[in-house]
Symmetry: D2
Subunit: 214 residues, 4 copies
C-alpha cells in the first residue's frame, strides 16, 4: 500500500464549484488497488493553503502528495513541471490578498521541479484514453503557491516524500454557455487514479519528449 494525499481547492473567481475538489474527493473515496488515499480541500488563500497542506501532511504522513487545481481554459489534464517562487496574480485570492511579485519563501530557490514522474503520469493518463500533457507553468496564483510550498517542504524537511501539482479543466457544468473546453469529473477522477498509481510505481521518470518551443 502507498499512502497518497490528494488535495483540491475551494471554488474561486465566482465559480460555484471547483472541479479539482470534486475529482479529488471522488478519487480518494474509491482509490485504486494498492493506494491508500486521503483527500483535503485547501482554501484558495495564499499562506493559509500551505498551512492546511502542512497540517494534513503531518496527520496523513503520505509517501506521495498530488495537489490539484482548476485551469479554466485548458482542454486537458496538465501535469506541472515547475513551481516558481513568486506570488503575482490578476485577481485577489479568497481572502482579498493581491500580492505582487512577492517571494513565497524569501531566500528560497527561484523554482523547484516536481518530484513526481511527470512524463510517466502523462503517458498513463493518455493510455487510459484521456488527454494529458506536461505544463511548464502553473501560473503565479494560489495553485503555484501551494505547489512551491509543497516542494519547499519536501526539499527542506521531508526527503522521503514525493509530490507535485496537476491542473484540470473546467467541468461541462461550469461552461454550459461559455464555449470553453471541459472534461467531466468522472474522467478527471480516472486521470487522478492513473497519476496516483503511476507515481507510486515509478521511481525514475520515463524519457519521452514533452516540452514546448515556447
Amino acid at each position: 500500500m502507498t499512502r497518497v494525499l490528494l488535495t483540491g481547492f475551494a471554488p474561486f473567481e465566482g465559480e460555484s464549484l471547483n472541479p479539482s475538489w470534486q475529482a479529488v474527493r471522488a478519487a480518494a473515496a474509491e482509490p485504486p488497488a494498492g493506494i491508500e488515499a486521503s483527500a483535503i480541500e485547501l482554501p484558495c488563500v495564499y499562506g493559509a493553503s500551505i498551512a492546511v497542506l502542512r497540517a494534513a501532511i503531518e496527520e496523513v504522513r503520505p509517501e506521495i502528495v498530488v495537489c490539484v487545481g482548476q485551469a479554466g481554459g485548458r482542454p486537458d489534464i496538465t501535469v506541472e513541471r515547475l513551481a516558481v517562487n513568486v506570488d503575482d496574480a490578476r485577481i485577489p485570492d479568497a481572502s482579498g490578498a493581491e500580492p505582487i511579485d512577492e517571494a513565497i519563501v524569501p531566500g528560497g530557490p527561484a523554482a523547484y521541479f516536481s518530484t513526481l514522474p511527470i512524463k510517466a503520469c502523462v503517458a498513463a493518463v493518455r493510455a487510459a484514453g484521456l488527454p494529458a500533457s506536461v505544463s511548464n507553468t502553473a501560473g503565479t496564483f494560489v495553485c503555484n503557491h501551494v505547489f512551491y510550498g509543497l516542494a519547499h517542504l519536501i526539499a527542506t524537511e521531508l526527503p522521503g516524500v514525493r509530490g507535485g501539482f496537476v491542473h484540470v479543466p473546467y467541468t461541462p457544468e461550469q461552461v454550459v454557455d461559455r464555449s470553453q473546453p471541459s472534461l467531466p469529473s468522472e474522467a478527471v477522477t480516472r486521470a487522478l487514479h492513473e497519476i496516483a498509481l503511476t507515481s507510486a510505481r515509478t521511481r525514475t521518470d520515463i524519457r519521452v519528449a514533452g516540452g514546448a518551443t515556447h
Copy 2:
C-alpha cells in the same frame, strides 16, 4: 411516439473513429421515452451521403431528422442555424473529391435555415449540464453538404418533416496528445437525446439571444 432519424458520419481525415457515429448509434440504441429512433452512418462523401440519407428517410419515414458530424476543435455541442449551397473544402472527401465553390443543388437557394428549434435545443442541452451553443456556419464540407441536401429535400418534397444539423467535439480518446477540447461520447449521447426530445416537443422555437457579433 415521434419517429426520429439520427445520422452520423464515417471517420475522415485520418481519424480512426467519428464521434458523431459513436454517439448517434448509442443514442438510437436506447432512445428516451416517446422517441422511436433510427440511426444510420453516412459516408463522408459528397453526393453519396445525400443519396444514403434520402434512402434512409424513405425507409424510416421520420418526422424529425437530426444529422450529426464532428467539429474537431469546437469545445461544445453546436446546433447549426444555416446550410449553404456550396461545396468547398481544404481536404478531399473520402472518395478523393475536392470540389471548389460548386453548388450542391444548382439553381437552389443560397441557404436554408434549420427547421429544428435550435434555441430550444441549445437550452435543453445546457439544462442537462452540457455545453452548447448556436453555430452560424456548418462549414462547406460534407457536413454542410448533407445539411443542405436534407433542407432542400424537406423544402421541396417533405413538408411534414423537420430537420437540422448538430456538430459535436472530438472525444477524449481522439485527442489524448493533442491539447484539443473534447467531450466523452456518453455526454454527446445525452445531448442528442435532449435535442431529439426538444425537437419532438417544440413547434415554435423559444426567443433567446444566440447570435454572434461576427
Copy 3:
C-alpha cells in the same frame, strides 16, 4: 477609373475606435491608381446603418461597394462569403436594440452570396504579405445586417453593382493588455486597396480552395 464605395463602422461595445473606419478612411484618402474611392462611416445600428448605406450609394453611384467591420479576435483579414437574413446578437446595437431571430428583409431569401471575387481578394491580400482567408459567417449582428442589406439592394435594384463585406482584426492599440490578435491600421489599409483593385479587375472569381470542414 472604377468608383468604389468603402464603408466602416463607428465604435461599439465600449471600444474608443473602430479599426474598420480608421482603415476605410485612410484607404479612400489615398486610393490606388485606377480607383476613385469614397468612404462613409455607418452607425452601429440595425436599420439606420442600411439607410445610411443606401443614401451613400445613391450619391456616389459606385460600381463596387466594400463594407468593412471589426471582428475582434480574428487574426487575419476575412473576406465574407455569405450574408444571412437574420438579426440576433448577444449585445445591443448602439441604439440599444436587441432583436432576436428577426428577418432583416421579411420574405427575403435566407442568404446572399457576396458578389465580390472573394477568392481572388484573399489571394491578392496574401500576395501583398498580409494574412487573409475566406469566412463563412459574418455573424448575426450589424455587420451581417449591413452585408445582407447591401446584397438585397444589389439583387433587387442595382444589378450593375457588385459588393461584399470584409472583417478586420483589432488594431494593436485596442489590445495592448488583452492578449488578442491585431493588425496595424496601415496593414489593413493596404489590404483594402488590394481588395478594391482586385474587385475592380476581376469579373470571374478564381478557383482555389478556401472552405472549412466546419
Copy 4:
C-alpha cells in the same frame, strides 16, 4: 550611453525567416537616443547558441542583454519572467539534437528570474500602443536554453550585467494563409526600443500585477 546587446535567432522549423532576428537587426541599426546597440544572430542550436552569445558578450561588453526569439501563435510581445534548467522539446534543433529532460547546466539552480525590469518593460511597450504581457514560461527549447545560459553567466561571472528574454509573434508575411496572430516587424522593432530604453533607465521594477492564475 548604455551598451545593449540584442540577440535574435536564425529561422527554424521550416520557416524562411525568424522575426526575432529581423526586428533585432533593425532595432540595433537605428537605436534610440542614449542606447548603443549591437545585434547578433544566434544559431537555433543547443550549446552553440550559448557559446555564440558568450563570445558576443565578451566582445561587446554590454550592460544589458536582451535575447529575442519567435513565439509562433502568441499575439503579443511577451517579456519572459523565468528561465528553467531543462532542455526538452517536441522538435529537433537546427543541428538535429533532441535532448529530453537534460539540465542545461548540470548542478545549476532549477531556474533564474530575469534581471530585466519585466513589468516596466511591459508597461512601456503598452504605452507605445503595442500589445505586451509577462510570460511565465519561455518553453524548454533553444529560446529558454539561451535565456538560462545568459542568466547563469550573469549570476556566476557577470554581476554587473542585466539580461532577459523577449518572445515575439510571427510576422504577417509568415502567416498569410495560416490564421495565426502576427505583428509587423516595424512594430516589434519599436517594442524592442522601448524594452532597451526601459531596461537602461529602470533599476527597480515597478509594482503592477502581471501574473496568471495558471
